[in-house]
């Protein structure tokens, strides 16, 4: 763990790391003709400032980071965040007593942007795929009017091309998250016993993740059913596990603000033939994709690697994406689909998530986390066993 976190829990990395990120963003902005970047999403704010809090769970207040063309970013934030932001590296922190129904930071933000962007200038804001505007839409409209003739332009690519290349320190964080989740997965056979309701298994799995060192558990999903499950995003119900079920648990556990995102499958009782066949195909397809993956391929190429491998091993790939980026949120771009042409570059952290039907109406999904290196793929999650684990067999 970086030294700073010993005294400043809000500053995960040394200030120099954030300055470096800022400079990379500024180079990207310069290339796109953007005079200042306006960031409103939790992940973007954390990325630039190190401001780590679970308070995003409250939708009451907007938070703004302004990245000027040169120099340090400015935080324009609710007063409740001043103390914590003050422990991060930014020195220019402007606050207002939010929520204020008359003016919820808007005049402060207008002044801040107006000072760093000339009247003919351009303000970049992520507006594209996989982005949201985390502020009231009416306030954004008012902001546009107040800052005219300055214009707003889409800065999605500008942010994504920077954030998607992880530093070694970031990769270490993700690896730690993967490692602790791996230990929790190893303990699943202790509590995912036949007869136990799935909701109890989910609860015990979250407890295991915390016991193994997660700061918090932002995501647990899964499923269980005969030979396979119905979907991968449902909460748990009270139905008990039964022999013949395939159980899947999937988690996004968080360590120092960084996520893992991988799943594991378990046969309850002896693995059935449909489970074995699917697991073999998914495991092999992952193995083959990892062996073939190199920088310079595109997201769609990696999708093709995975899907053709699945077909070669006798199963039909699921129609959704077969993996995605990973880091400061549970899922990041790119998406491993036939349509995503994002170039895969060294330093990108990805999930490989091939899935297939085990039989009509039942599926199995297999997931690993990797970082793409110059000449190879490095696993961040402990590799799933080649043979499907059996519980209570």
């Amino acid at each position: 763990m970086p030294q700073q976190s010993q005294t400043s829990p809000s500053l995960v990395f040394p200030a120099g790391d954030y300055r470096n990120r800022t400079e990379r963003l500024q180079a990207s902005m310069a290339g796109a003709g953007i005079d200042a970047l306006l960031l409103t999403q939790p992940a973007d704010v954390f990325y630039v400032t190190g401001f780590l809090t679970r308070f995003w769970e409250s939708p009451a207040r907007p938070w703004f980071i302004v990245v000027p063309a040169t120099g340090d970013p400015v935080a324009v934030i609710p007063a409740i965040g001043a103390e914590l932001m003050g422990r991060c590296w930014l020195r220019d922190i402007r606050t207002w007593p939010a929520p204020d129904p008359r003016d919820d930071g808007l005049s402060l933000l207008t002044t801040t942007l107006g000072d760093v962007v000339p009247p003919g200038g351009c303000i970049g804001l992520p507006m594209g795929l996989e982005t949201h505007l985390r502020m009231p839409l009416a306030d954004y409209t008012a902001l546009q009017e107040a800052l005219a003739p300055r214009r707003f332009a889409d800065a999605t690519a500008c942010v994504q091309r920077v954030r998607e290349i992880k530093s070694e320190a970031e990769i270490d964080c993700i690896r730690r998250s993967c490692t602790l989740a791996g230990r929790a997965f190893d303990r699943v056979p202790e509590f995912a016993l036949p007869g136990r309701p799935l909701e109890a298994v989910f609860r015990d799995f979250q407890i295991a993740l915390l016991q193994e060192g997660a700061d918090w558990v932002s995501y647990v999903a899964g499923g269980a059913g005969p030979d396979g499950y119905g979907d991968v995003i449902s909460p748990a119900g009270p139905v008990p596990l039964q022999r013949g079920d395939l159980l899947m648990l999937d988690t996004g556990a968080v360590k120092d603000g960084y996520f893992c995102d991988f799943d594991r499958n378990y046969a309850i009782g002896p693995a059935t033939e449909p489970m074995r066949r699917a697991h073999h195909a998914l495991w092999q397809a992952t193995e083959e994709a990892m062996a073939a993956l190199r920088p310079g391929l595109r997201a769609c190429d990696l999708h093709r690697l995975l899907s053709t491998a699945l077909e070669r091993h006798g199963v039909t790939p699921l129609s959704g994406r077969l993996g995605h980026g990973l880091g400061v949120t549970l899922t990041e771009w790119p998406s491993l689909t036939p349509l995503d042409e994002t170039e895969l570059r060294a330093g990108m952290v990805l999930t490989l998530e091939p899935g297939c039907e085990t039989r009509d109406g039942a599926i199995m999904v297999h997931e690993e986390n990797i970082v793409l290196r110059d000449t190879r793929v490095e696993l961040l999650s402990p590799r799933a066993p080649e043979t499907l684990p059996e519980i209570g067999a």
Copy 2:
């Protein structure tokens, strides 16, 4: 727990409850001249449909619910959600293979809205305080153009006046969440011992919440320091608890999709005089506000009740809000500030959250959850003890 959740984890309440909510929204829409409501935020989607998932943690895909002037809502959602949404009450579920960089549900949403809103009509969208647009901004701009001459109008009040009045079934959910959190708070003296790092205490507290029945723990914050803490939104660091510290833990634990949000304070070792004085004032101010609160008062009136009581008991109120709404998210409107004139009505669930300085640079915050009834206040959280608990004294 409502019977339906025994077989359908995605449908927390009977379908009739959701139909009733829809009809209340539609009455509110009619009063505002809105022909259809477009909902994009997780809480609004869950409120109308019962679609309960932690998958919102992935920002990759937008989700849309269209509430027409009459009849059932329509779900326009990524294909990955079809199975779970199919177990909810809506029957008209339209999906696309998201994320699609060419058209991420936009043409499907355009058709859906175009069919239920006449060309001269109005589409309501929450745009005001405490709302966000959970879809790419560029797609929203394209949607506006595609649907012209239909216009978009702010539907914040339209949604908030409906959602803020909780049904008895919703109140039961919040009460269950409060009750389980109360049991976890009772166990804090077992693990918040002098010498233990705050991050270990946070971890154990989350484990206790899960063991006591939380489905998941969306929020834990807190602080510790001599006589008081510095802020209330920070993550935990490695600093060990010491005698003379005031420890606060705050949680938003989730049960069936509904939150509690309250905190508890503990003296580590014997309570100091500044702690005792602040705790007494905060406890008494809460008691007096609960005795005086009735429907018809406004949020700003309740703020005044709390702040004048604090002053009467010899402490200075913190400048931020002193409470807020609660339910499907950790915090909901209204805000207990001098500026919020929202009328408080029977059926509203609120937090009372008075805070004050204990000494220069250190604070204490006290929090309870209540539901406002016709003639009284009903506590949902187990009342904090009148005397500040001491651990290891």
